[in-house]
């Protein structure tokens, strides 16, 4: 399941960049976020995964969609083809090779199972295998370096219940503390949200002259919604 989610995230990420219309890009961005949120939930940090969905998909992508809606994007100037496309390929190649260089030198020196005498492809395979089994050993408490032991279903794993073993999941423990011990912080955060509701309304109300029934010559200029 972890593999499927990470594959989905990478594929969606590629499609964000290469899709033609900006709205399709935003949809694939949503898919990236959802895949990464699922990955995080499977990893054991349930709260962070759920907050990814709430914050990223619920607020950031909605903001992106509003911006795309409001600015006039000519679709013709977005579709780069021919020489405009190929002139960017060397730069992309350079950036990609820098990333892979970093993978093979900096990160690979932290895994003791990588030894010398291997080719690039085996390095890459070993790095991927080493990362996943390292995570399995660290978080799921398994002592065998077997790649097939990745969790296929959602079980509350060790790191999820580590903060509050009696109540279980991370979301549960955060919630039980937030609503009792730190309730004052929740109230202040709600006041901040109240301000965030009032502020756009105050800033964008329209000024309309209203003829009130009681006014003779001194009609009050009032701000109401358009």
């Amino acid at each position: 399941m972890l593999d499927i989610l990470s594959l989905g995230a990478i594929l969606s990420g590629i499609l964000v960049i290469t899709s033609k219309s900006p709205v399709i890009s935003v949809l694939f961005l949503i898919s990236v976020f959802v895949n990464v949120a699922g990955y995080l939930v499977l990893l054991g940090v349930g709260f962070i995964g759920i907050s990814y969905i709430v914050v990223y998909v619920g607020a950031v992508t909605v903001l992106f969609l509003f911006v795309i809606m409001m600015i006039n994007i000519e679709l013709s100037e977005l579709n780069a083809g021919g020489s405009e496309y190929t002139q960017n390929v060397p730069l992309a190649f350079i950036m990609g090779s820098v990333l892979f260089y970093e993978f093979f030198t900096v990160i690979s020196s932290q895994f003791s199972m990588i030894s010398s005498g291997y080719s690039i492809s085996t390095y890459f395979k070993q790095i991927v295998q080493g990362t996943i089994t390292y995570l399995n050993v660290a978080f799921f408490g398994q002592s065998t370096m077997n790649i097939s032991n990745v969790n296929m279903v959602f079980n509350p794993s060790a790191v999820d219940v580590i903060f509050n073993p009696s109540t279980g999941l991370q979301v549960h423990s955060i919630g039980s503390m937030l609503y009792t011990h730190s309730a004052m912080w929740l109230i202040i955060a709600s006041v901040i949200l109240l301000l965030a509701i009032i502020a756009p309304i105050t800033l964008s109300k329209k000024l309309v002259l209203v003829n009130l029934p009681n006014c003779k010559s001194d009609c009050q200029l009032k701000r109401i919604f358009p």
Binding site: I192, A199, L203, L207, K222
Partner: protein
């Protein structure tokens, strides 16, 4: 109490705003702020935090008095926007955030209070949508405030990751038994430096002060010394420098001088701005927002009392005895050179620099006084000839601005604050004793 008034105002503003004018809302809010200053308390309440909170709330109520208090007449409005009912609501949000910040004793509550207070002030800065300079100022303030908040957040994250604690007392306990060279101490030091930088950004202390003149003045143009509000911004920046000097020595006298300087500076600054507002209401043929020093020419002949109050406030900012500003500077500089305390040597270089700087800056305040008292007034439409875009608008609008009167409450506020500044020397014991007791409660309880 503040939250209750906030909720009731929230309901009242949209439902009853055709009956209750915005200036009434402002007065109700200022009353509730004054009462909340009398009885309130949040988080970790000490004598010091409660004393300063009282002061903060009373100042908030004074600020609310002086705005939006003329009778609404539709023929008056050219390009200026009329009053906004939610102004008082935003002031309550700011004051709630400020008083929570004073009493906060945890990192998370400090951050939440800073955000609450800052957001409301961002909205206040961009409230006049028709003025392009105001929206630019508000956007600039929002971006820089967001930057400084994220710096503060980075500092708190560093402190939490190095100590595992968020409560101020717990961090103090941990650090008092830690070795200086340990990684924990260094990590917390870096976190505190980042939090300090973020806070200095927020109060516009040099060298992080570049955003302040543009935001206060409402433009993004370059430096121009003939704008009043820009000049007042630079005076604020230098006042913040004095406050930081008083705060950086950790002696009991310096904390007392810090509190006294803060009280005095707030009173004087509020008085300057509300006198400026009153002058904007009274002088005919100007918009309600006085921007240039030339608009204040020969005010002594036309409005003698207002110009006398303005001059008193400016002299107090410059530090001329026997006004209150002089004593504030004197007590800060005295505590910075005091050698009686066993563990403190004296900040000689800083004190000499502060004295020289305050002498030089007195020139700029006296320039306003000179314009008001010794120059003849020119008609308003001749001033803007260099700025081509504004001049055509001004000529057609100069007949639209009729002078209106200053309300009674506004002039009472101006008079009270001016009298406090002038007559402080006859009964200084009230303010000085309070500051002394508050500082003592911090050091020996």
């Amino acid at each position: 109490m503040l939250t209750i008034s906030l909720i009731s105002l929230l309901i009242a503003v949209p439902l009853f705003s055709y009956r209750i004018t915005p200036d009434l809302f402002n007065r109700i809010t200022s009353l509730s702020l004054a009462f909340a200053g009398y009885l309130s308390g949040f988080f970790h309440v000490t004598n010091l935090s409660q004393g300063i909170e009282v002061f903060l709330l009373v100042v908030g109520s004074i600020i609310l008095i002086s705005w939006a208090n003329f009778s609404i007449n539709t023929s008056r409005y050219g390009s200026e926007t009329p009053t906004i009912s939610e102004y008082s609501l935003l002031i309550i949000f700011t004051t709630i955030g400020g008083s929570l910040l004073i009493s906060s004793s945890d990192i998370v509550s400090m951050f939440l209070s800073i955000e609450l207070q800052s957001f409301a002030v961002y909205v206040l800065a961009t409230l006049y949508r028709n003025s392009e300079s105001a929206t630019a100022a508000g956007l600039k303030y929002f971006l820089l405030g967001g930057l400084s908040s994220s710096l503060i957040l980075l500092g708190t994250a560093l402190i939490y990751s190095n100590t595992g604690l968020t409560h101020f007392d717990s961090i103090y306990n941990l650090l008092s038994v830690e070795d200086i060279d340990s990684g924990v101490f260094r990590g917390v030091q870096l976190g505190i430096v980042l939090i300090g930088v973020g806070f200095l950004f927020k109060v516009a202390a040099a060298p992080f002060h570049n955003w302040a003149p543009d935001v206060y003045d409402g433009t993004v143009l370059g430096l121009s010394q003939y704008k009043i509000k820009r000049l007042l911004t630079y005076s604020t920046i230098s006042h913040v420098g004095f406050l930081l000097l008083a705060l950086s020595m950790n002696t009991q006298e310096s904390v007392e001088s810090f509190i006294f300087y803060l009280v005095q500076y707030t009173i004087t600054n509020v008085n300057v701005f509300i006198v400026l507002l009153a002058l904007g209401y009274i002088i005919s043929n100007t918009p309600y927002d006085i921007e240039f020093i030339e608009q204040l020419k020969s005010q002594f002949g036309q409005n003698p009392f207002l110009s006398v109050s303005f001059a008193v406030c400016l002299f107090s900012i410059a530090g001329i005895p026997p006004l209150i500003g002089f004593f504030a500077k004197q007590i800060v500089l005295y505590s910075s050179m005091n050698e009686n305390n066993a563990s403190f040597i004296g900040y000689y270089f800083l004190s000499i620099t502060a004295i020289l700087v305050s002498v030089i800056s007195a020139f700029y305040y006296l320039k306003i006084v000179q314009a008001m008292y010794f120059e003849k007034s020119t008609s308003f439409s001749e001033i803007r000839s260099s700025d081509g875009e504004r001049s055509t608008i001004e000529l057609s609008e100069s007949t639209l601005y009729k002078a209106t009167s200053v309300s009674n409450l506004h002039s009472v506020a101006i008079a009270t604050l001016t009298i406090v500044i002038v007559l402080f020397i006859f009964q200084p014991i009230i303010l000085l004793n309070s500051c002394h007791l508050l500082a003592l409660s911090l050091f020996y309880y």
